[in-house]
Symmetry: C2
Subunit: 408 residues, 2 copies
Amino acid sequence: MAAAAAAAEQGVDAARKEEEEEQVVNPWEVSAGKGGIDYDKLVDQFGCQRIDDALVDRIARLTARPPHCFLRRGLFFAHRDLNEILDLYENGQKFYLYTGRGPSSEALHLGHLIPFMFTKYLQEAFKVPLVIQLTDDEKYLWKNLTIQESKRLARENAKDIIACGFDIERTFIFSDFSFVGGAFYENMMQVARCVTMNKAIGIFGFNLEDHIRKVSFPPVQAVPSFPSSFPHLFAGKDQLRCLIPCAIDQDPYFRMTRDVAPRIGYQKPSLIESRFFPALQGENTKMSASDANSAIYVTDSAKEIKTKVNKYAFSGGQDSIEFHRKLGANLDVDVPIKYLNFFLEDDDELAHIKKEYKEGRMLTGEVKQRLIAVLSEIVARHQRARAQVTEEMVDAFMAVRPLPNMFG
Amino acid sequence: MAAAAAAAEQGVDAARKEEEEEQVVNPWEVSAGKGGIDYDKLVDQFGCQRIDDALVDRIARLTARPPHCFLRRGLFFAHRDLNEILDLYENGQKFYLYTGRGPSSEALHLGHLIPFMFTKYLQEAFKVPLVIQLTDDEKYLWKNLTIQESKRLARENAKDIIACGFDIERTFIFSDFSFVGGAFYENMMQVARCVTMNKAIGIFGFNLEDHIRKVSFPPVQAVPSFPSSFPHLFAGKDQLRCLIPCAIDQDPYFRMTRDVAPRIGYQKPSLIESRFFPALQGENTKMSASDANSAIYVTDSAKEIKTKVNKYAFSGGQDSIEFHRKLGANLDVDVPIKYLNFFLEDDDELAHIKKEYKEGRMLTGEVKQRLIAVLSEIVARHQRARAQVTEEMVDAFMAVRPLPNMFG
């Protein structure tokens, strides 16, 4: 019997490919090979660079603060030209951050928050401006949504993003339907003129029965990498560098962007790229919008979190207490440990739990209990923050305005 | 020796195809078969309708004025659903006009003016609003221009268009680089979602080495057909009908538009379509930007017009006066007669010239002399009008503003 290969997903709803051995990672599809996502292979295949300890140390030194746990635990594990950004930063030259989200659903799950949590850390640590793109046009084009619904979802998602704690003095949030035009549109055309259909098909895997906007969407995600797309923010700063924190499935967009940039007189954006956040059922399963039990949503109650973790989080522990005490847990497949790896900030406690669990002294139930506490606190904190986000705050973050203190 | 097949062109710079028998007509290429453009075949191939005398009479009756000579002489010869527009008009329901130009060059030739002269007549006769699109993004994408140069050409061309005498109370001129965004962009996305790459390739003849924006440009030209693209003009009038005067090479855009319209809840635009304006060297040659002697430009001096007509306008007269007196002229290939057919307004005088020339009593030189006088007057009038067009007038026509008297 062939093992069903499955897909992990973060930030996009990937089509699941059953029975497929080859791993496929692009912005619309993340399907693992038989043994799960092979990140090493991905780095080589995409041609990006690994983040090593020296680079993490350098970031800590330059920002004079401990590196974010996503960084020191290798969850953001790959980059492109991050050293160039840091070289310039060390010489007093700032950069700007660019991240985004495709607003395909109302409720975000924890995986969706990862890039925003990390971006918030980068913004605070480097004291740099940030642009956040909500690709409501993309979701309209790919999903069976109306334009009104896409725009509504973009605003709802903006509230969750704002709830992550971004500094309004340094942050501009925009949706494509509200912002495309002017210099942004001009840059879209400049990028589009440099990419043939054959090339786009090669990078993104489109086919000729796809509609015509799919093949020409990538420039929309590319151009926030160029400061001249935001004349209200970066007038006269056309060579300002851009750093993009994102999950590695977005790399194809920025491979294309980096290929085009020098041909139109712009700097290549740098990237810092994360692994995928696993579904509750394990790394080789998919977080699915149609299966609420596959993920922890930021709207879940404490009770739902408790039930989901206890009932669905895949355990690497043994079947009986007796065996578990004897053999210990397999941490490589254990979802509670993977989740704690993202969200338990205390390194010592995390190391302790891993050791105890691995050696059978700690039981799955105990690990899950700790995870439930950690997730409940994060989700409750997010819910409290989101409840404070008013329509006026959304308007304020999305206002096309200068940010006089963004480098301050 | 194979006769070289040649291309006629109006409003676009078509690639010339030598030695080709099949006629090709699309927005980027107009190449005639061996015997010149076969307009009957084109009407059947495109599936549009012929304009007959009854339809011309109906327009005259409804507008209470004689039909424009372009109409009564069959130069605008084909249409799509023009009767529907007229049925509604007869019942007191107005429509709006939409035409445009790709600003690929600074100097317009007389062929470029045809749709604008005719649209001005329609605007005056029906007392309806008009939107004029300058596709500077298209010309940037297709030609080797900078964005700045495309935008500059759009403004320069706008001056020539304004010089045609459009009513500022009923006319909105816009360029894509200045106007794309908002509701217009939303409509672009709605159209794009309905057209597959295969379909666009089938309609427009793109190939996979074309850049990605070519295949997705057609929605940009499609959406001015929908009133909701102009909320500042047509808010609450989403079902207002649109009539598009254009040369028939633009038909593929609007075949696509009409196919998509009902699927997104919009009315199909109606069309009224013209033949191509011939080059001086004859109907089977091409007006070329690189050969100033192939066309009369609106910037030509009286002396240049005289030289061009005398030296280059292809004559259907006989080689010697003796033969000419005996055999008369072949009007079917005679360029001065074709040009007079467009621009000599007096029907009786035109009929007289044709008869005398055809029967050998009038010589080519005499016909050319009359044509020189007619063209010189038109061009001089245009030059006087254009000299009056200020930058402020361009700004006024291109201002995004309501037109409170547009139906008045």
